[in-house]
């Protein structure tokens, strides 16, 4: 899921394979973590000199990856695999970052509270946290919405059932239970037995996989045969198509196409 384009990394924060460096020590001992925060540079009055130590730029692709997961989830008719690693990793990073902001705010470095500059930096860090929180929330909501829409189908099909996180599975089962109970109590129990089924043929709603989606080609694919017609498309990077979801479903799973 993580496309590792090997961004210029410092040995800190980034660790594309093993997840995030945060795992053990955080958020209890923020100061001992290898993740240094901007305030550290301001601790010592030393001007330019020690900035250089912090200069190794790092870049973390997780937000970008989760953003695309969010877009795909919102656009695709079916439920997609859950981006477990990304969500968990980002949540941990948010916690660590928040703990550090808090620690610095309280700490004041013995000089009587943070300077206005440090306070402003904290605002910026906080702003990023809010953005990521929004992203995660909206991603989860998009999934919940699909789960509510096709609960039975998702619970029944192995493929989709496996795509649920444990929490989502618990939600889906509980939701279905409530729904069934409600239907039974309100009218099903009064009907003849042969009309009481809730999962008969054509009674379970499933996503329309032939529904139209917009997508952008991420890498040259070349000739591509559409199932629904004899035409062969030549798909090149950055082409934008409007077509049936089923046609590009595989390409999207392989990361060659993104929904927009």
């Amino acid at each position: 899921m993580l496309t590792s384009d090997d961004p210029p990394t410092s040995p800190t924060l980034m660790d594309t394979d093993g997840g995030h460096i945060y795992d053990d020590s955080l958020p209890d001992q923020p100061s001992s973590s290898s993740f240094s925060f901007p305030f550290d540079a301001g601790d010592n009055p030393g001007p330019d000199g020690d900035d250089d130590d912090d200069n190794d730029g790092y870049f973390n692709d997780d937000i970008k990856s989760l953003t695309q997961c969010w877009i795909n989830e919102r656009c695709a008719p079916e439920l997609l695999p859950y981006a477990d690693d990304l969500v968990r990793g980002l949540m941990e990073m948010i916690e660590a970052q928040a703990a550090n902001i808090e620690a610095r705010r309280e700490g004041g470095e013995g000089s009587g509270g943070p300077s206005p500059d440090a306070a402003f930096l904290a605002v910026l860090l906080q702003q990023e946290i809010e953005r990521i929180k929004f992203l995660i929330r909206s991603y989860l909501r998009a999934r919940l919405s699909k789960i509510q829409q096709h609960t039975q189908h998702i619970l029944r099909e192995e493929l989709y059932r496996n795509r649920l996180s444990p929490e989502e599975l618990a939600f889906a089962e509980r939701f279905q239970e409530l729904l069934t109970k409600h239907f039974k109590r309100s009218y099903l129990d009064d009907l003849p037995a042969f009309l009481q089924k809730l999962d008969g043929a054509r009674m379970v709603s499933s996503p329309d996989l032939e529904g139209a989606v917009f997508c952008r080609i991420k890498e040259d694919i070349g000739g591509f045969q559409l199932e629904s017609s004899d035409e062969i498309l030549t798909m090149r990077t950055n082409n934008i198509y409007f077509l049936r979801y089923n046609a590009i479903r595989r390409l999207m799973e392989d990361g060659k196409v993104e929904l927009i």
Binding site: P7, S10, F35, S36, P38, A41, G42, D51, D54, N55, D56, G57, Y58, F59, N60, I63, K64, R74, L90, Q97, F120, L121, L124, L125, Q127, E128, I129, R131, F134, A142, R143, L144, S145, I147, Q148, S206, D208, L209, E210, A212, F214, R216, L226, E227, S228, S229, E231, L233, N238, N239, I240, Y241, F242, L243, R244, N246, A247, R249, R250, I260
Partner: protein
């Protein structure tokens, strides 16, 4: 429901703008600032007059606090936009604009119009460009078939605008077309069909 109805088939303009705020943009800081170590990556140190490349949301916050000036992207240049507009009027295809040009322009004109040379002219040109493209989109609707439509160079905001109508029309056409309808009728069967036939 978990997602309001209007968000279930597409994005709200504010969400599209949220996405655009991740795009990188060049700023010239107006005061010194330490390296900013965000979760997304590190930015800075900020040393005027050296330029920094930062996400748009960060640039906007800095700009609002008068801590930087924003270097507008080349495509917001008035002469460039004039040429684009002319191109847009004279050719059938959409002229190549950045994928998120509308949102970026909207944000920049909102928060940093003093950094954009001839901002008002640029605004007008962008509006004309948008209208020219919109009318092209509308006339392109007649080419819609239940198979596919190629719409290179269309921006994401423009796509999001046409999404509800185009999707609906596409799906109606699909049902009406016998060839596609034969296999598209029951989503249960096509689901497994697609998996085996696409290699």
């Amino acid at each position: 429901m978990a997602l309001p109805k209007n968000l279930r088939h597409g994005f709200a303009p504010a969400e599209i703008e949220f996405l655009a705020e991740n795009e990188p943009i060049t700023v010239i800081p107006s005061q010194r600032m330490e390296t900013l170590q965000l979760i997304n990556g590190s930015y800075g140190p900020f040393r005027p007059p050296l330029k920094n490349l930062v996400p748009l949301w960060l640039a906007r916050t800095l700009k609002r606090k008068h801590k930087c000036n924003i270097v507008p992207p080349e495509w917001m240049d008035v002469d460039y936009l004039k040429a684009k507009l002319e191109q847009e009027m004279s050719q059938i295809e959409f002229s190549a604009m950045p994928f998120r040009y509308m949102e970026i322009a909207h944000i920049l004109l909102g928060c940093a119009s003093d950094d954009i040379p001839q901002a008002e002219t640029a605004r007008t040109l962008l509006k004309d460009l948008r209208e020219a493209r919109q009318s092209k989109v509308r006339s392109g609707l007649k080419d819609l078939d239940p198979h596919y439509l190629q719409i290179d160079n269309l921006g994401v905001m423009e796509i999001n605008e046409i999404r509800p109508f185009f999707s609906r029309a596409f799906n109606e056409l699909r049902v009406l077309t016998p060839a596609g309808g034969a296999m598209g009728g029951d989503s249960q069967t096509t689901m497994s069909g697609a998996q085996s036939s696409m290699g």
